[in-house]
């Protein structure tokens, strides 16, 4: 069964790069959105297996998205320019892929994340 991935990233070049890497690896994209509101809207209306999240979306924290995903038990991965030590405290134990990243690492992380899904 093809896994569905939600991409939450406000920088379009990076968002589309993630999207095309995942498609090439055989994953389906639930949605590729650039704001907290749109991400919450997608989570509300559509199913996704995992989510890839930028931490800062147009100056807003991704926190509400994290809360919504945790409520649903959806695993997620941060893709961020921040090092782990600089992550906001409530995110510090979540998986993190730092930018810039190698697409192969991205796919590896996605695979690990999917292994956690029920």
């Amino acid at each position: 069964m093809t896994a569905h991935v939600l991409i939450v990233e406000d920088e379009p070049a990076i968002a589309f790069e993630i999207e095309s890497s995942l498609r090439q690896a055989g994953y389906a994209i639930t949605a590729c959105v650039g704001s907290v509101d749109k991400a919450l809207d997608v989570i509300e209306r559509r199913e996704c297996d995992i989510a890839l999240l930028d931490i800062n979306l147009r100056g807003k924290s991704v926190r509400p998205v994290v809360t919504a995903l945790r409520r649903r038990g959806t695993p997620f991965l941060f893709v961020s320019g921040f090092e782990r030590v600089h992550l906001p405290e409530q995110f510090s134990d979540a998986p993190l892929l730092t930018k810039p990243f190698d697409p192969a690492d991205l796919i590896r992380c996605v695979r690990q994340l999917l292994a956690q899904t029920p």
Binding site: A13, I14, E17, G34, I55, G59, G81, P100
Partner: protein, 518 residues
């Protein structure tokens, strides 16, 4: 049994701590009284007043004359000298002959004291209480001023009536000067600590606060009475952290460390947190045997804040540069697909340069957004000479946020590249009209922008959509929640976007990414 002596003296009116000189004076005074008493005893014993008095007078003289450092003499009720000793010559400069019968008060008090009625006050005090202390500047015969330490004692007859005065005085000038210098130096130290621009505390090893600078109380908001002991200070300012400071200061008293230097967060009286760099050393032992500590503090709250701000900025710079590298990486991957390597390198270099142009503008504006006009002109700098003639730029001042600046900058770059290659800037007569505006219309304000070409070679919809098309279409849509229309009209390309101003304009309700917050 003889009557007890009738000449009496009252004890000094006030008990003060006795200095050595005061003690000497008192002893001298007692000696005088003993002599007076003795005189009367002798007089009584001799039955004949004349003989007795002469004898006692002789003894009195003998005793008094032995003393050279003290002027000792008696006066009558009017203040005229009745007796004289060597000390009078030495201290006051008067020979016996000129002194006896002289109005002493007029001769030895300073004109200021005479004008202020001091001699009368002294006589009144001595008459009323028995003794008057007269420690004051006086003058000797040659007009030299000296500081006198003296006592005036009322001499009374059998009926208790005052019959005259005895005066004892010594030149105390040198000691007075030393004392004054010492007092001045102590005062100077006290004031130096009091007005020290950085907080200073002096406290003894048992915790008693000896002195505290005004800056200490002003910076912390505590009053002197809130800090009677070092423990009270610790309790007020540190709460749970007090024990650590107490331990360090204990080490200081135990001689484990010569100087303590620690940074602590203190709480002011209004519960504000401040960072203090606290240094203390123990300069020695007080007169009462207790060791004492001088502590000084520098409020480094602002410096700490600045350090944190710098760290935050460095993190932010690192974060931004990594994001930008990720963007460059993504641009490279996506624009490399199905294009020949030479063309790719050329286009990729131009795209990286375009990103750098937008970055420059953002940095120049301290990341507080970029004016659209500046952004468009900067991205069209290759066609500088056409601006104003074939390229018309038209729009009000609008400051767009950093994310929008990057997106719009890339879009303008791709549009200009396309125009130079295939569109209105590829021949000699075509024109480009770039315009933008923020429209309030009905509902939320929107940012609208257009790129319209005219007069170029006939346009056809491209058969293949390259990365340039992604940039001016999907990417603008994604980054700015924009509605984008791209019309490959035969007369010229027509690109229009309309986005919520809140997403595009700097300082609007939804600020661009990367400003301070994470």
């Amino acid at each position: 049994m003889n009557e007890p002596p009738k000449i009496t003296t009252d004890p000094p009116a006030t008990a003060v701590t006795e200095s050595d000189h005061e003690r000497q004076l008192r002893e001298m005074n007692d000696a005088l009284l003993v002599a007076s008493v003795r005189q009367h005893e002798l007089a009584e014993q001799a039955q004949t007043a004349e003989a007795g008095l002469r004898q006692s007078e002789a003894r009195f003289r003998e005793l008094v004359e032995q003393v050279k450092d003290y002027a000792i003499f008696r006066t009558d009720l009017e203040g005229r000298a009745i007796t004289w000793n060597e000390g009078v010559a030495r201290v006051l400069g008067f020979a016996e002959g000129e002194f006896i019968g002289m109005d002493v008060t007029q001769a030895i008090f300073t004109p200021e004291d005479i004008a202020a009625g001091v001699p009368q006050q002294e006589i009144e005090t001595a008459t009323r209480t028995g003794t008057a202390h007269d420690d004051r500047w006086m003058r000797s015969k040659d007009g030299r001023r000296f500081f006198a330490l003296g006592t005036t004692t009322a001499l009374k007859d059998e009926q208790g009536r005052v019959v005259g005065f005895s005066k004892v005085m010594r030149d105390h000038t040198r000691l007075k000067r030393t004392e004054d210098a010492l007092r001045h130096s102590e005062e100077q130290l006290r004031r130096a600590i009091d007005a020290a621009p950085i907080p200073v505390i002096l406290h003894a090893e048992d915790g008693e606060v000896l002195q505290i600078s005004r800056s200490w109380t002003e910076l912390t908001g505590y009053r002197i009475e809130d800090i009677p002991t070092f423990d009270a200070w610790l309790g007020n300012a540190y709460g749970f952290g007090a024990e650590a400071v107490r331990e360090r200061v204990r080490e200081l008293f135990q001689g484990a460390t010569g100087m303590v230097q620690v940074e602590f967060e203190i709480l002011t009286r209004v519960r504000e947190r401040h960072v203090w760099a606290f240094s203390a050393s123990s300069p020695g032992i007080l007169r009462d045997g207790r060791r004492f500590v001088v502590g000084m503090a520098v409020d480094i709250t602002e410096r700490k804040r600045a350090e944190e701000h710098t760290l935050m900025l460095l993190r932010e710079v690192s974060h931004r540069s990594k994001n930008l590298l990720a963007v460059v990486q993504a641009v490279a991957r996506q624009s490399s697909r199905a294009e020949d390597p030479k063309l790719f390198v050329q286009q990729f270099s131009a795209r990286v340069a375009c990103l750098a142009v937008s970055q420059d503008l953002l940095v120049q504006n301290d990341w507080r957004g970029v004016d659209v006009g500046d952004l468009v002109r900067a991205q069209l700098s290759h066609n500088d000479e056409l601006i104003g003639s074939r390229i018309e730029i038209d729009g009000p001042p609008v400051r767009v946020n950093p994310a929008a600046a990057q997106s719009l900058g890339m879009a303008v770059h791709e549009l200009a590249t396309n125009a130079a290659k295939y569109g209105a800037l590829s021949n000699d007569g075509g024109t480009v009209h770039v315009s933008w505006d923020v429209s309030a219309g009905g509902g939320a304000p929107r940012y609208c922008m257009s790129w319209r070409e005219c007069g170029g070679p006939p346009v056809a919809t491209p058969s293949r959509r390259g990365f340039g098309h992604t940039v001016i279409g999907r990417m603008v849509r994604h980054a700015l929640d924009a509605e984008v229309t791209i019309d490959f009209a035969p007369a010229g390309l027509d690109w229009r976007i309309s986005a919520p101003a809140a997403v595009v304009v700097e300082g609007a309700t939804q600020p661009g990414p990367g400003r301070g917050s994470r």
